[in-house]
């Protein structure tokens, strides 16, 4: 048999000799080193990016249609931005907390982390303003917290492709949707690439790394190069399969009973807002 012969050692180009040290076992004892730069900082951040990937698997059979959720979240964020008393915000907080306390612990964490992060970030930014304008600007971090929580909750409960579809249905310009779509695509690839490269770095970090920042920089640089390359390829593949940049959305607007409830939910929000804010 031909294949059998293929594995005759002498058939092939002659190999160089294996280096001697490879034939002995090292007796190696690693030194202690700080490892947080690998596991805590970047892996953590990227883990969150990867969340987008998990999203694809979420099954949603919700009473509320994606379009409704999108409009509602938009309205809520709009009213949060307009609110100038804490009362309305507290009302929303109560509602949101009641919603997320029904989720399981890990999902709760994945919502709260970005929201708290955004809040702390805003707080740090406005600290100087507190001295100048008093406590009224303190509402801002709270507003940011609520808005981020809302968006996080929406993105968690709704796969991204459904959101783009709903946006298409709402006649949002397709250029906007496409860049959103590509960005998300890019982020997914970015996350996956980074995780893989970090694992490679981790597996070969077997001692004291004197150039931690350099290694980190290399991984990041490589991540961007790679994911950009892949994102471009994805886009090219879309074009090759006849994608013209239009997001066609076939929608049928049958009258459904649940639209009454949708309308009531929106009215309730508006009435509460106008009543509390005293317009």
């Amino acid at each position: 048999m031909k294949e059998k012969e293929q594995f005759n050692v002498n058939n092939k180009q002659p190999h160089r000799d294996i280096p001697m040290w490879l034939l002995q076992n090292d007796d190696y004892l690693p030194q202690k080193d700080r490892e947080r730069y690998l596991s805590k900082t970047l892996l953590g951040i990227l883990g969150r990016l990867i969340h987008f990937r998990q999203q694809m698997q979420i099954q949603t059979e919700s009473f509320f249609s994606v379009t409704f959720k999108l409009i509602y979240v938009f309205l809520l964020i709009f009213s949060i931005a307009l609110a100038h008393t804490i009362t309305f915000l507290l009302l929303l907080l109560a509602g949101l907390l009641a919603y997320i306390c029904l989720l399981d612990g890990r999902q709760i964490l994945s919502l709260l982390k970005p929201a708290i992060g955004a809040m702390v970030f805003t707080f740090i930014i406005i600290v100087p303003a507190i001295f100048l304008q008093g406590t009224i600007v303190m509402l801002l971090p709270f507003k940011v917290f609520l808005s981020t929580l809302l968006v996080a909750a929406l993105s968690r409960s709704t796969p991204f492709y459904l959101i783009t579809k709903a946006l298409g249905g709402l006649h949002v310009p397709s250029v906007f949707i496409m860049s959103l779509d590509l960005t998300i695509n890019y982020i997914v690839l970015l996350g996956n690439t980074a995780i893989d490269l970090l694992q490679a770095l981790k597996l070969r970090s077997v001692g004291r790394n004197t150039g931690k920042y350099e290694s980190m920089g290399n991984v990041l640089g490589m991540t961007f190069l790679k994911s950009q390359e892949y994102a471009k390829q994805t886009h090219a593949a879309m074009l090759c399969r006849g994608f013209t940049g239009e997001y066609h959305v076939v929608q049928q607007h049958h009258w459904q009973k649940k639209y009454i409830i949708y309308t009531m939910a929106i009215m309730l929000l508006l009435v509460l807002f106008i009543h509390i804010e005293g317009y």
Partner: protein, 331 residues
């Protein structure tokens, strides 16, 4: 029974903090070792119950109020150690967000309501149930356990109040902190609890325990069905009913604001002065003081406070649950 700041001297508070640290440490260890991981989020549900029960102020003749705590209930469902942590966290959120109970006196409040109460209640229950092992015996054990638990807690709180004027006075003999001696504090604290709050605690405990035993036996015994929906429904009922707690318009004994204490007549005549440290001691502005929200009716404010408090507690323990179970999974 929530002792505000400045009613106990800072040294008293320090003593109770020192006493609670090992209790918390040991409770957490016990929970980690003995409570099944999937029950940790239930501590949050227990804490939410306790939080809501404490919002139901009951009017007491004489113008004060008192409330149930639900500590024995949680101890029966999840064990006294879990009850200790559940109530401690509930008290923490009450102090921090709603200004109910002081920041400095937090550990003292935990000692009374999160340590004395569930342990006294739980072991009284165990003792009595071992004497009469019939089903009626169990009911009586639950009622008595809850009753003894809350009254023990009130008694200990009264002692904490009562020793203040003995230890801390100014040169004119006026109290610096809580002004009432043991002879006044003990009956003032105990009578409302013996007569009203204790009975409420006992009835609530038995009623909720039996409700849970019926709808979700898995919470009480292992390998039975554990259904959370009816429990959440019960929580919602409590939340909607919580404004009933507003009907009791007085202030609980020992929870006065600085403006109220001078007129208080627990000594027979009005006190006539504001103890120095209560007038200008440590002060903390809670986010939602006394479960009210500016620009909203008291009833709405109370309901929203109930929602926020209960949801926060459930969320906190669900998050803690993820850390614990993650560790389990990776070992």
């Amino acid at each position: 029974m929530h002792i505000p700041d400045n009613y106990l001297s800072p040294s008293t508070c320090a003593v109770f903090t020192a006493a609670m640290l090992p209790v918390w440490y040991y409770s957490i260890r016990k929970i980690k070792m003995e409570l099944p991981k999937d029950k940790i989020p239930l501590i949050g549900v227990g804490a939410a119950f306790s939080f809501l029960l404490m919002m139901f102020n009951l009017p007491i003749p004489g113008g004060t109020t008192a409330h149930a705590v639900g500590g024995t209930l949680i101890a029966l469902l999840l064990g006294p150690y879990a009850a200790c942590i559940a109530i401690s966290v509930a008290l923490f959120i009450q102090a921090l967000v709603f200004g109910d109970g002081g920041i400095l006196s937090f550990a003292a409040n935990c000692f009374n309501m999160a340590f004395v109460l569930p342990f006294a209640g739980y072991y009284t229950f165990r003792f009595i149930r071992n004497l009469f092992s019939s089903s009626a015996g169990e009911k009586i054990a639950i009622l008595l356990g809850a009753y003894v638990g809350i009254n023990m807690a009130a008694f200990v709180a009264a002692i904490e109040f009562g020793v203040q004027p003995l230890l801390f006075t100014n040169s004119a003999g006026q109290a610096l902190y809580s002004p009432y001696p043991l002879a006044v504090a003990i009956p003032a604290m105990l009578l409302p609890h013996l007569l009203i709050a204790g009975i409420a605690e006992a009835v609530f405990t038995l009623a909720i325990y039996e409700f849970i035993a019926k709808v979700s036996p898995g919470l009480i015994q292992d390998n039975k069905k554990q259904k959370l929906n009816p429990i959440f429904a019960l929580l919602i009922v409590l939340i909607i009913a919580s404004p009933l707690g507003l009907l009791a318009s007085g202030t609980a004994w020992g929870e006065w604001g600085a403006d109220e204490i001078a007129a208080d007549a627990s000594l027979g005549t009005a006190l006539g002065y504001i103890p120095a440290k209560i007038a200008n001691g440590f002060s903390y502005d809670a986010l939602l003081p006394d479960y009210t929200m500016a620009g909203m009716s008291d009833v709405m404010g109370y309901i929203l406070s109930a929602v926020i408090g209960a949801a926060l507690l459930i969320i906190v323990f669900k998050i803690i649950g993820t850390f614990v179970s993650e560790r389990k999974r990776t070992v």
